[in-house]
Symmetry: C2
Subunit: 202 residues, 2 copies
């Protein structure tokens, strides 16, 4: 197995922290928002728009009727989406070609399947995710539990929808991963240390 | 977190091997069939019958009609089932009281919830489970892939049904576990070593 590690993660579960720690311990590259920045650079699209395509709801526009088209599909939107998907695949493959690395999100487990990466999924109980969001993101620190839960559910719904649209597989389904870790009761630092140890011995 | 480790496992995934190695590395007790033997000793029921209640289909007998009962529920069967459930809970709790241990199957994660065990679930791809069954069980060595797959699916259906009946939770759903490990691409020896390392540092 290569030392390419892909990390899928529920929002607020600490997947990003785990990925960063792991890359640091292994002395290898870490890619997360770098993927978006690279797509933005290559496509000349706004970062927010690219992020929306990569993380949120896939919106498709179809004609209202089939035989008598009243409104045409928004082909330009299709085109942009496809350009972003192609760029994403290219960027992720190029990053993996450069050498061992940790890649967070963006269906990298699916894009790099032929490289046989170690596929990790990070998740946690809702109360722990709420706690973590409040602690880690300034913008979340004043939100109520209810509002934070809604935000977490919304972000993860977007990720699940995108993953399933792009890969045909169910996001977070353990059969698509080598190791799934629940960070509710286990310290992320310890998980990272022991994953690094495992990877070094593979 | 205590050093009580519960292991749920798909048939043929190597959960038992992982549990044994883990117990050996940590120098703690290992319980698997010992639970059944203890119930048999206490209940005076046949081992096969106890195993059937603990691992297989839950069969309930109800009267054919409600207002005019033609056949009565088989209360004796209910009684025996309940006796076996009670004995199981008692035996598992007593085992956990004795000291740190690894317990395989039998809904131990649920029975010992208040002890906050480390809950592990072990799974694998179907082709790897078929391979492993053929290698490890003499009785499976001459079965076709199709027959072995049918056996694996049947055993796991029984485990899932029993777990869900007993706990109200979905068997193998990652949210009920701390770590889920896919043994398809990772050597069990290495997983055990690193899990032991993690547990020792908790």
């Amino acid at each position: 197995m290569s030392r390419i590690i892909t990390i899928g993660r529920e929002f607020g579960s600490g997947g990003r922290e785990l990925g960063k720690r792991l890359a640091e311990l292994l002395g290898i590259a870490y890619y997360d928002n770098e993927i978006v920045s690279e797509i933005v650079k290559r496509s000349n699209l706004a970062e927010e728009y690219v992020n929306q395509i990569l993380e949120k709801k896939i919106i498709r526009y179809f004609p209202i009727t089939v035989s008598h088209t009243l409104s045409s599909p928004d082909y330009s939107h299709f085109d942009v989406e496809n350009r972003v998907y192609s760029a994403k695949i290219k960027v992720i493959k190029e990053m993996a070609e450069k050498g061992d690395c940790v890649i967070v999100g963006r269906c990298a487990d699916f894009v790099l399947a032929e490289k046989n990466p170690l596929r990790i999924f990070v998740y946690a109980d809702m109360d722990k995710k709420i706690e973590r969001c409040r602690l880690k993101n300034e913008e979340d620190s004043n939100l109520s539990d209810k509002a934070l839960k809604q935000k977490i559910v919304k972000v993860d719904k977007g990720r699940a929808r995108y993953y399933e649209f792009f890969t045909g597989n169910r996001w977070g389904d353990k059969k698509n991963y080598d190791i799934c870790v629940n960070t509710s009761n286990l310290p992320i630092k310890l998980i990272a240390e022991n994953l690094a140890h495992t990877i070094q011995k593979l």
